[in-house]
């Protein structure tokens, strides 16, 4: 119970323990804790950045998709227009061709009719000459009376 030299020893022992703890223990633990805190903070900021990057990439992808869609729509529209154009052109060509064919056919018909008429005319001339021969009972010189006959044929 009495105060004696133990007091001094105990005080010194206390300081020795404080010194050891301060020198060899405390900085390690605090250092490890602070290092871990820093690591966690870095990890969090990395995660934040990664999330932002992901959002950016998402936005970029959406943008690309929108652009591609717009492009596709443009292409489709142009193709449609072109198709219409082609169809129109084909129709026009067909019409022109039909007209041409019609004209050729008409010309052909005309020519055939003309030929038929010529043939008919020549046959009529022959017939008329044959008739006249029978009537006159003599040969008429076709060359001498050609002008007359021609006038007759033109009159048909």
């Amino acid at each position: 119970m009495d105060i004696n030299v133990t007091l001094i020893i105990q005080g010194l022992a206390f300081f020795a323990v404080v010194w050891v703890v301060m020198k060899f223990g405390w900085p390690h633990i605090i250092g490890a804790i602070e290092e871990r805190q820093q690591k966690i903070a870095e990890g969090l900021s990395h995660a934040e950045r990664a999330r932002k990057e992901l959002a950016d990439a998402d936005a970029r992808v959406a943008d690309e998709i929108r652009k591609a869609r717009a492009e596709a729509a443009g292409i489709l529209e142009r193709a449609n227009a072109q198709a219409l154009q082609i169809v129109d052109k084909a129709r026009e060509e067909a019409v022109v061709e039909a007209m041409r064919q019609k004209a050729i056919a008409a010309a052909d018909i005309e020519a055939q009719a003309h030929r038929a008429r010529e043939e008919l005319r020549s046959q009529v001339a022959t017939l008329a000459i044959a008739g006249a021969e029978k009537i006159l009972q003599r040969e008429i010189d076709a060359s001498a009376h050609g002008e007359l006959i021609d006038q007759l044929v033109a009159g048909i």
Binding site: M1, D2, I3, N4, V5, T6, L7, I8, I9, Q10, G11, L12, A13, F14, F15, A16, V17, V18, V20, V21, M22, F24, G25, W26, H28, I29, I30, A32, I33, E35, R36, K39
Partner: protein, 288 residues
Amino acid sequence: MASEQAASADMTGYIQHHLQNWQVSLGDSPFWTLNMDTVVFTVVSSLVFMLLFVFFARRATAGVPGRLQSIVESVVLFVDGLVQETFHGKSKLIAPMSLTIFGLIWIMNFIDLLPIDFLPWAWASIHPEPEHAYLRAVPTADLNTTLGMALGVFLVIQYIGISEKGLGKFFAEFFSAPFEAKGPVARLLVALPNFILRLIEEAVRPISLSLRLFGNMYAGELIFVLIAVMTLGAGLASFTSASTWLLGIGQFLSAFGWTAFHILIITLQAFIFMILSIVYVSLAAESH
């Protein structure tokens, strides 16, 4: 009657034996006596504390902490937080000192929870003169330990006061606080009361710190001794009588209850010593 007197003498002897330190004389005067038991168990407690703490500190990594590391870290962070929010000085000494106060006092107090006769019995069984084998195992139940630590804290308080404020301001505050005055005459008038109050204040701190811890641990130890007295001298043969059985059961229950309660006391007292030291050091760092 005679046997009762003998039993009472036994009890007194038992209690006195338990309250006697193992002392070694180093010189002529009573001051030069060393309480060997206190010193030995302080060294053992200090080694346990230092080895445990330094071991965990060295193993601490910045990676994912294990369970034990988490426990040690949360204690360290708790103490560090207490110091940081109270003490605003620059010193790097205060937080480790506070942790040492708490850890060391807790371990020294913990010896009180060991069965009261266990360590003295072990000591007596190897001592050449068993009747003189005194042993008080709890260092904090020795006023020398608590006062030694409190004086250590007292020195730190003064050191922090000087290093944070400078020598001139530190000594000026002896005369200018807590009573503040304006004008030279008034200042001269309050100088002496201020000085006296300051001396009392500084003296009271280590005394109250040390006596609080010492009183609690001494009383706790004494109560363990008194509980142990219940079946004092009752050998196996006396367990034939009902009264011995009753006393035995009573001793077991009261020792169990007091031990459980004492867990709270040893923790609380270690915490109070630490928190008051932090407060005193912080006050010394604040300017008036």
